[in-house]
């Protein structure tokens, strides 16, 4: 069994792991940012002492990850509060803020937030005044590309805390073919008791599916798919599945959402509604192989397959002529 497949099995069914390639499991889990998630899943199980100690470290570290993520969210909330615009937490920070199962062991790097597109200039100004700075040259091609075509501002980093913030105004680049309904994402967001806001449950899954299957090359995708598994298991109910299908259609992302359900079911045995997941497609196997392209040394494998998905990510992201121009600028500067 490859290390990535072992990792998936350990997450799905930790009790089934007896003696195994522990070093490979740990390296694959670290490479996929899933070590702490695995450590919580395997808590209390019989594992070799050295691995038990590593898991203990990871669980303790997770508490600090959570504290830092929520502190960063609070810093952004304070910076933007005077503007009176909605600020919606996304991805890992949202899971932690809401105390979802998906937050257990979830690593958080950048802070991801969403604001109305019309508020972007004011939000950016407020963040700059509160100590965030541009990461990239704010004159160059990358900057203008971000502002014109991306679903987020060029990344900002905080001067003293050294943490990045991604300010989104929708969930896919403007160059992608699907056009999610950003106003609906904001209108149906939920305010938590602690004053922070998150997307509605169905939109959270639509966003996770869009991020994994409609944008990007699936690198590190096992973690994103694990998010989807945890969210689906927590939200699933008879009333939820039709709602999810409706939101997926509204955001023009029914295909990626269906694929997310099928892949979560294939890898993590997530219970899914067959009507929303749709019938298995041949390409699902390619997605599975791409997600599992990691060996026991933490290296990425299957170069040709990864390259194919890399090309696909650009294809999804922009029309051919624009892609040609983009690659030309990148190659010649």
């Amino acid at each position: 069994m490859t290390a990535a497949r072992l990792l998936v099995r350990a997450l799905r069914d930790p009790a089934s792991i007896g003696s195994c390639d522990w070093a490979g499991l740990v390296s694959a889990a670290r490479a996929e940012q899933l070590l702490a998630s695995l450590a919580f899943r395997m808590e209390g199980m019989a594992v070799p002492p050295r691995i038990a100690a590593l898991f203990e470290d990871a669980r303790r570290d997770a508490a600090q990850v959570r504290t830092q993520a929520l502190w960063e969210a609070e810093m952004a909330r304070r910076a933007l509060a005077p503007l009176g615009v909605p600020m919606i937490l996304m991805k890992g920070t949202a899971f932690h803020a809401a105390g979802l199962d998906a937050a257990i062991g979830r690593s958080v790097g950048d802070l991801d937030i969403m604001v109305p597109r019309a508020s972007l200039p004011a939000v950016e100004q407020a963040l700059l005044e509160a100590g965030w700075e541009h990461v990239k040259d704010s004159e160059g091609y990358d900057d203008s590309y971000y502002r014109r075509w991306m679903h987020e501002l060029p990344p900002l980093i905080h001067r003293t805390r050294d943490r990045m913030i991604d300010v989104h105004h929708t969930i896919l680049p403007l160059t992608a073919r699907p056009r999610p309904d950003a106003e609906a994402l904001i209108a149906d967001s939920m305010t938590l008791d602690n004053g922070l806001s998150i997307l509605s449950p169905a939109d959270m899954i639509v966003h996770a599916a869009a991020h994994l299957f409609a944008d990007g090359d699936l690198a590190g995708g096992l973690r994103n798919l694990w998010d989807i598994d945890r969210l689906l298991r927590e939200f699933a109910s008879d009333a939820f599945w039709p709602l999810l299908a409706e939101r997926a259609r509204l955001h023009q992302l029914h295909g990626p959402v269906s694929r997310a359900l099928r892949l979560a079911n294939r890898l993590y045995f997530t219970p899914v509604d067959r009507a929303v997941a749709g019938r298995a497609r041949l390409a699902d196997r390619l997605f599975e192989a791409r997600l599992l392209a990691r060996n026991g040394w933490g290296q990425e494998r299957r170069k040709a397959l990864r390259f194919t998905f890399y090309v696909r990510s650009h294809w999804l992201r922009m029309p051919p002529l624009m892609l040609a121009r983009h690659l030309w600028v990148k190659a010649t500067r």
Partner: protein, 288 residues
Amino acid sequence: MRHRLALQIGPVAFRIGSAWRAPLDALAKLYAGYPAPADGLCDFTVRLEPERPWRLFLRPSVAIRGDYVLPDAAPLALAHGLLAAEMGMNLQMALGQKRHLLLHAATVEKDGRALIMTGESGAGKSTLAALLGERGWRLMGDEFALLDMASGDLLPFPRAISLKNGAIGVMEAEVGGDRFGPRLDGTPKGAIRHMRPNQEALARMSEAAKPALILFPRFGAAAAVRGVGQAEVFIRLTQASTNYVALGRRGFDALTGLVRGTPALAIDYPDAETAIGLVEDFRRELAA
């Protein structure tokens, strides 16, 4: 990976994989006498691999990778593969170690009392630790001091000592040739030669010690000693720590515990013998 080596160093086990044989041969020779991990497992994985596939053969360059990576780390020439392995182990500790508070410092111990020496690159802590390690002290480590956050003890991490430039000759005059790695010229830090700690340091690599003195040495000026206030010690040690921020409250408690319980001095010294004389004076005062 094609070539592999496992090393237990103090409380930490490493697994090092390499696309080339030479770096691991050099590493195995340098680390002769170190135990393999008793359980066959590891805490961290280091990978030495070509930066791009064709760089395996063509102008080979070694990318330093592993469980934890720095995205923009520059690769090294294959001739410096041993240094790449050493840097790979340092990187795993600096980015991945969350069990102990890590200080960028050298530590030596005598009579159960540990001396922590920290300072900027070039302050001479590696050289002083290496010399003291040959003159009746036990070398615990020249790169990282590991502070156990529960007990406040220092744990040994006696990696090979990284001697740079002028320090190489100083130690070659002190120690037999079989404990040295190859001399590496033209590295990003100038000339480097690694030296294996002596048999006592290896035999006692699982024996902790109580911190007794924190020293901030500075090479190049006339001999001088001054006390350092706790606030300054605390700030300097937060800067010397690679994981203080990531440890949160536990790191703060451990570091304040260390600073409150341990006297600290800054010394200037014109040459190593003067520094060693000062250290011996301090040791006698602490014992009295």
